[in-house]
Structures are given as C-alpha cells and as structure tokens.
C-alpha cells in the first residue's frame, strides 16, 4: 500500500463524516445497516470485475450474465412455474452458468481476438437472450425458503446477503494474494510482454479470469433473485457500469496493473454511501444523478493526477 492508495479510503471517511454531520438520519444504526445491505450485490459483482480490470481488459457482460443466472436459479429452486426443488444445488448451477458465460468471453478474446469490450458486450446480449427465453413471458416467483431468507433474515444486524458479500470479498482477496491466477492477472495488466518473454503462457489465465468474474456475476444474479423473490431478465440492470465505476473510484486503473479487491470494496462503499447520503441530506432526486456523476469524475481525476504526463494519450 503506497500513499497513492490512501486516497479512496480517505475520501470515504470524509464523505461519511460530512453526511453524518449533516444528517442525524444518516448516522443512525438502521441507516448503516441499509448501506451495507444495499452494497451487497454491487460488492460481489465488483469483486468479479476487478480481476478483469486488473488485467487491463474490460467486462460489460455483468447485466446479461446476471439475468441468465437469475432465471436459472429461479426455475431450479421451488417456484410457481415447475416442480423443481433443487435448493442449494440450484444456486451452484446458477453460479456455474455465470462462469460459463465468462468463459465464453475469455475464449472469444483469446482465440477470436475480439477485444474484451465487444466480446463481453456480445456475451451480455446473449445472456439477456437466454434469460428471455427462460422467462418465456411468465415470471417465476420463488418459494424456496432458504433463498428467500437470504434477503430477509439478519445475523448480527446485517442480512445474510451482506455476509455473503463479505465472504466473497475475503475469497476474492485470497485469490488475488495467494493464487497464481490472481497474481498473473495483476502482472498481465502490468507488463504482459514480460510474462511472455519469461515463458509464461498468458492465454489460459485470461480465460480463467473471465470465467472467475462470470462466477461472481452468477452469484450476483442469485442474490438479486433472493431480494426480488422472483427471477427477472432485468436482474442485473445497471450493475455492469456501477461495478466499473465502483472499481475505478476505489483505485483500480482501467489500464490494468493497479488496484485490487480491497480497493474495490472501498469503491463500492463510496458509491453506495454517496447515493444514500444524498438522499438522507435531502438533495432533490432530480439532482442526485448529476451530482453523483460529477463526484465520480472528480474522484477519478484526483486519482490519476500522479500519473499525468505531457503528450499523454488518453482513450
């Protein structure tokens, strides 16, 4: 951790203190619980996308993959559309479906040389298509007790979803720190050419990183289904760009090689605290979107100041 990484946590503290000073509503225990619960799904999705961004690639497939996994899980657990009742197994299948979509993105990148931007955009559309087919015009409402309880029941004040998200962050951090996959994802973003010159075949790792990210989106889709009590095609709406925003605000560079899961966790909290705080201090809903956007751009501009140089090409 260098001083460059201190910015986002500092910003989080500042924003939190400012909102807490302005609004007694904001600093209530209830609201802190709300913030954490609201951050849960975004944290899981961002955790996955972080590995892709660390490589210097981009992933726009989250929305589609989450839709597909949401429909998968809602049709496999006890529901009003069929007689399936696979319980926890269904959740595993939905995560695998997500991993499969991620794997397709990786394969398209490595073998068809499709840039990740387009490959994942395509996979997102395919995911939405698959979800729509499964939806087939009739919304599957879930009756699986465990899955429904995730969003409702609390442990130590936080919903199960929040604890699942925390577990995901720990797992993500372990992967990043203690596996070759995580370290190579980091290294690919730093200097891919050097890896090749050192005799490392980077392609399998790229595919694996997209697969891993897909698995996280898959779990994200399951979590949204738990919140909604039903499988919707639009389960992942907006999460693709929110996750990228959270990761970048947390200090992960889109050019790769910097950042990580913990950075992203901070970024997620920044985004969620901002959204929540603006509501609590009474900023008009008409203003919120614009204000939030400005703050995000300002945060990123502050983050890249140390790296600016003359005649730099920014795309």
């Amino acid at each position: 951790m260098s001083w460059r990484d201190a910015g986002p946590p500092a910003a989080l503290v500042v924003i939190f203190v400012v909102f807490a000073a302005l609004s007694s509503q904001f600093r209530s225990i209830d609201n802190v619980q709300n913030i954490m619960d609201a951050a849960a799904v975004l944290a899981v999705v961002t955790c996955g996308i972080t590995f892709v961004l660390m490589m210097g690639s981009i992933d726009l497939s989250a929305a589609g993959v989450m839709g597909a996994s949401a429909l998968t899980v809602s049709l496999l657990v006890a529901n009003n559309r069929n007689d399936n009742d696979l319980g926890i197994l269904a959740i595993g299948v939905a995560v695998l479906v997500g991993a499969g979509f991620g794997c397709v993105s990786g394969l398209a990148l490595v073998f068809l040389k499709v840039p990740s931007f387009m490959a994942t955009l395509g996979v997102s559309a395919v995911g939405l298509g698959v979800a729509t087919l499964m939806f087939a015009g009739v919304q599957p409402n879930i009756s699986d007790a465990m899955l429904k309880s995730w969003a409702i029941e609390r442990f130590l004040g936080f919903s199960h979803l929040t604890w699942i998200a925390a577990a995901c962050l720990v797992v993500g951090w372990l992967i990043q720190r203690y596996t070759r996959l995580g370290r190579y994802a980091f290294a690919i973003g730093g200097a891919e050419e050097v890896l090749t010159l050192s005799g490392v075949r980077v392609q399998p790792y790229k595919i694996a990183v997209f697969t891993l990210a897909g698995a996280f989106y898959g779990l994200g889709g399951v979590m949204v289904t738990s919140q909604l009590g039903a499988g919707l095609v639009q389960a992942g709406d907006g999460y693709d760009f929110s996750a990228i925003t959270a990761a970048v605000v947390g200090g992960t560079l889109l050019t790769g090689g910097r950042g990580g899961v913990l950075h992203s966790a901070v970024g997620v909290l920044l985004v969620v605290v901002l959204t929540n705080g603006l509501v609590q201090v009474g900023v008009s809903p008409y203003w919120q979107g614009g204000v939030q956007g400005l703050i995000v751009v300002a945060a990123v501009a502050a983050a890249v100041i140390p790296q600016r140089r003359r005649n730099q090409v920014v795309k």
């Binding site: 070759r180 996959l181 005799g199």
Partner: protein, 519 residues
C-alpha cells in the same frame, strides 16, 4: 586501465569446449542484411565484449542468441552441440539468458515474483502461492550476486540499479534449469547507471565469471575494455576482429568499428553556403531538461547542424525539446530573435518549426490514412477555404508536392502505410512544406530503416531545402551521415555539448575526431 586478464581456466579437459559458439549466422530483413555471416566464440568463464556501431548487427545477434530472432542461415552451438533456439524458454533451457536493454520486469509484482517468473517451482503449488518458499527461492538467487534487496519489495519501488540486480538474479535462475554454467548476455547494462552503480555492476560481472560466461555489450568502449577479457567487433553484420583487452586502447576498437572506408561519396552534395544573416534563425541558450543541461545552439538559415552522441547523450531529448514535446527546466529558445513560448508543440508549429520523428510508423504518420490526409495533417489552412476542406484545393496542393518530391504512390488517396519507407518519409517531410512557412526542420534519424536509394533522395531533399533557406537540425543515423550532410557538428556527451566541430566541404573531420569527444 589495468585489467587482470583471466586466461583459460586450467581444467583437466585438454581443449575446453566454448560455452557458446556462433558460425556464419545470416539474417535478412526487407532491404537490409542485418547479419551477414557472423562468427562468435564465447569461452567458458570469460567476459566477452561485443562492440559495434549502430546497425552493425549487435542487437539482431543478441536476439538470435535468446531465440527472439530466427536466423536465415548459420549455426549456434552450446557447449559444442548444435542447437535451434526458437524461444526465450528454449534458450533458457540451454542455459542462455539475457538482461534486456529495456528492463524486462513486471513493475507491479514483487522482486521475488519477478525472479521466479515462469519457473516458480516449489513456490507455487497447485496454483497456490507459498510466499515463504518464494522468498527463499528469490533470496537464493539474490545471494548469488550478494545483493541485499528485500525480495518482497514491489519492483517499481526499487532504484534502477536495484532493478538491474533483480534482473540479473532472474537470469541466474536458468542455472537451475540447464544444470550447466550459464551464458549471461548483458545488453547495454550501463546506459542509465551512475558511475558508482557501474562499479558495483562491474564487480558483479567479475563475480559472475566464477560460475558463468558473460557477453557484455556497451557503447562506452572504455567500459568494454575495463570489464571484458576479450572483445569481438562487429561491422556491417560481420565479425571484423577480435581484441584481447590487456593493453588495448579505445582507439583501436574505434578503428575496427568504423572501418577504413570513411565517408561515402553520396553524402557530399554541393552544400549551399549558409546565409550569414545578422541573427541566427534558431538560437538556443542554456536549455536544460531531464537528460540534458545548458545546451547552447545556433543554426543559421540554410545551415545544416548535426548533433551527434552515443545512446544516452541526451541529443534525442534536446531535439524533442526544441519542438516543445519534451519538458524543459531552464533556458530559452529564440526563433529569428523572438522567444518561443513553449511548452507545447503548437507554439513550435506556429513559429515555422517542423519535426520529423525517429519513430515514423508510430509518431510520424497515421498509417491507414491517405497520402493526402497525412500531408495536410498539420497545415490545415493550406487545404481549406474557410472552415471547410476544399477537395480541389487539396488535390492540387497534394499532387504538386507528390511530383515535386517525386513521391512514388499510386495516387494521393492511397493509404500511406502501403508506400515504401522512403516515400512515406517524403510525405512526412512534405507535411511541413505544404504550408510554405517552414523555417526550421528538426530531423530525428530521417533515414532510419531506408535503403540506399531512398536515403540519397532524402539527402538530396535536405540539400534543396537548405538551399532555399530552411535551417536544419539533424540527428544522423551514423557518423558518416552527420559528417557528409552537416555544415557544423555538435557533439553531445552526458547531456552536455562537449564540442563543436566545423564541417565545411573540403575540410570534413574524420569520424575518429568526433568519437574522441563522444566517449
């Protein structure tokens, strides 16, 4: 320069097999013969120097030795066995490793990870990192060179010299792979080191000799003589000689590097006598930047001034600074007596300065765009009437320059990347001419990668422009080119102007006169 020369190690083997031997290596590139039958012998436990001018084939030879370039003909033998090297990994398996000129470490990984990268062994089991084992493995390598770097430090927090040690430690991993004494190639390792760091590096190299063979490449010949046991000199893709360093002097090596041919005739045109106006067209005073200090430079209208210097002398940065593309910390640049408000390249363009960059493909042209677009990229006014592009005006303008510079292209709408290098370069030059307001041209290696025919056309063009009153600053590809083209030569050394040599027709200096000041 007293050097202790290690003789052949006294082993029981009657005639020791060379650690590495190259016979008759040939490599063609389009238009160039980079290697033309090179021979090279690296004995066991010796430090072999490799010397040669730019373009002598050094880097191609090194790349062939680590499997990055596949030779068209010739043989490479490792400890007497013929080998085919198809990749860096294969070369490493044969015990050959290289410390690259541009450092090849992943900046955001730890030193330890970089050292074991690609051959992690016990440090990674089933994809899981074992940081303790990794630190131990890295420490073993660092111990070999007696380095005290923290293996778990992030590489980009280390100094350049420390990173180089990491790189050497990394290369030494091949010892475990091949189970033989390795051959370590160091490509220009000293170019960015301070003198104290260089001394440390040399101690390191002498230590390496105990258990490895070393190939050392440097532009600084005193260093080569200092640290090497033997030097092989390359010229024009061939090995032209071998010198035992004991008692040798840099001058001897220079003569072999440059050869007896001297300057080629085709450089010598009828240089127009410079217009001796009251004030010089370009006048630079005390210009300082990251890699150069206190540079003074005057160029008169019609004059060609060449700046020469070895790699790292700072001349490229000076040239870019004149165009506002490199930050400066002090000094001023005057055009016709008026101070230029740099930084930024717009001020330079507006003042009538043109820059032809060395990296033509990435900085000089927009490959997929047409000849016409490339030619009118900067001087938009020349092709516009009002705010809009006037197609007829553009066509007339571009066609006239195509014929004036005899650019061989199927038409003005052809993508520039389909032209030959020489014709591309003419289009890049024309970009500065179409506005009709060019006063000073900065030519950064304008003939790089061009064949002889194209070169002489570029030379003719430079002469014509100088004749019409354009002042020129030239960073030449070779000393001969600088001597042949320039009216005056500035020699740069370590960021400073070391000498200024008049270079009139009929009184040209010899390359050796310049080399004296360069090193």
């Amino acid at each position: 320069m007293s050097v202790h020369v290690d003789q052949e190690p006294t082993t029981s083997v009657p005639v020791p097999v060379p650690a590495l031997e190259v016979r008759g290596l040939v490599k063609h590139y389009p238009g160039v013969k980079a290697l033309d039958g090179v021979d090279l012998v690296v004995r066991q436990h010796e430090v072999l120097g490799l010397a040669g001018e730019n373009g002598a084939g050094k880097s191609t030879l090194l790349k062939a030795l680590v499997g990055l370039v596949r030779p068209d003909a010739g043989e490479i033998y490792v400890r007497g066995e013929p080998v085919k090297l198809r990749s860096v990994v294969e070369a490493a398996n044969h015990g050959i490793g290289m410390v690259f000129q541009e450092q090849s470490l992943v900046p955001n990984l730890t030193a330890a990870e970089n050292i074991v990268l690609g051959s992690e062994g016990i440090a990674v089991r089933r994809g899981l990192y074992r940081w303790n084992a990794m630190r131990r493995l890295a420490q073993e390598q660092l111990d070999k060179i007696g380095s005290s770097i923290d293996p778990l430090a992030r590489t980009d927090t280390l100094s350049f010299a420390d990173r180089q040690m990491v790189e050497i430690a990394k290369v030494l991993r091949i010892e475990e792979r091949s189970q033989h004494p390795p051959v370590i190639i160091l490509d220009e390792p000293t170019s960015v080191l301070e003198s104290k760091e260089i001394e440390t590096l040399f101690e390191q190299i002498r230590r390496l000799r105990e258990f490895a063979s070393v190939v050392f490449v440097s532009h600084r010949l005193d260093e080569v003589l200092d640290v090497c046991d033997r030097v092989t000199v390359l010229r024009g893709g061939q090995s032209v000689g071998e010198v035992a360093t004991a008692g040798a002097v840099p001058g001897e090596l220079h003569r072999m590097m440059i050869g007896s041919s001297g300057s080629d005739d085709h450089y010598h045109g009828n240089a127009a006598a410079p217009v001796l106006a009251e004030q010089p067209r370009l006048s630079v005073r005390g210009l300082s930047g990251k890699s150069f200090r206190d540079v003074d430079l005057d160029v008169a209208a019609g004059e060609i001034v060449a700046i020469v210097g070895v790699h790292g002398s700072g001349r490229e940065d000076v040239c870019r600074a004149l165009f506002g593309a490199e930050p400066t910390t002090a000094g001023e640049i005057l055009m016709d007596g008026k101070k230029l408000e740099l930084p930024g390249t717009r001020a330079a363009c507006a003042a009538g300065i043109g820059y032809v960059p060395a990296e033509r493909k990435t900085e000089g042209m927009v490959g997929p765009m047409s000849v016409a677009e490339n030619m009118t990229l900067t001087k938009q006014k020349a092709r516009c009437s009002g705010p809009l592009v006037a197609p007829k005006k553009q066509a007339t303008l571009v066609d006239s320059w195509i014929s004036r510079l005899s650019i061989r292209t199927p038409g003005r709408d052809t993508a520039i990347q389909r032209l030959s290098g020489g014709n591309q370069q003419k289009v890049v030059l024309a970009r500065w001419l179409v506005g009709g307001d060019i006063k000073l041209l900065l030519l950064d290696h304008p003939t790089r990668g061009l064949d002889i025919g194209a070169r002489s056309e570029v030379y003719r063009l430079m002469r014509e422009l100088a004749g019409s009153g354009v002042a020129t600053v030239l960073l030449a590809d070779s000393l001969e080119e600088a001597i042949g083209m320039a009216d005056r030569i500035l020699v740069m050394n370590d960021g400073r102007v070391a000498a200024e040599v008049a270079c009139p027709n009929g009184g040209k200096p010899s390359p050796l006169d310049l080399v004296k000041e360069m090193v």
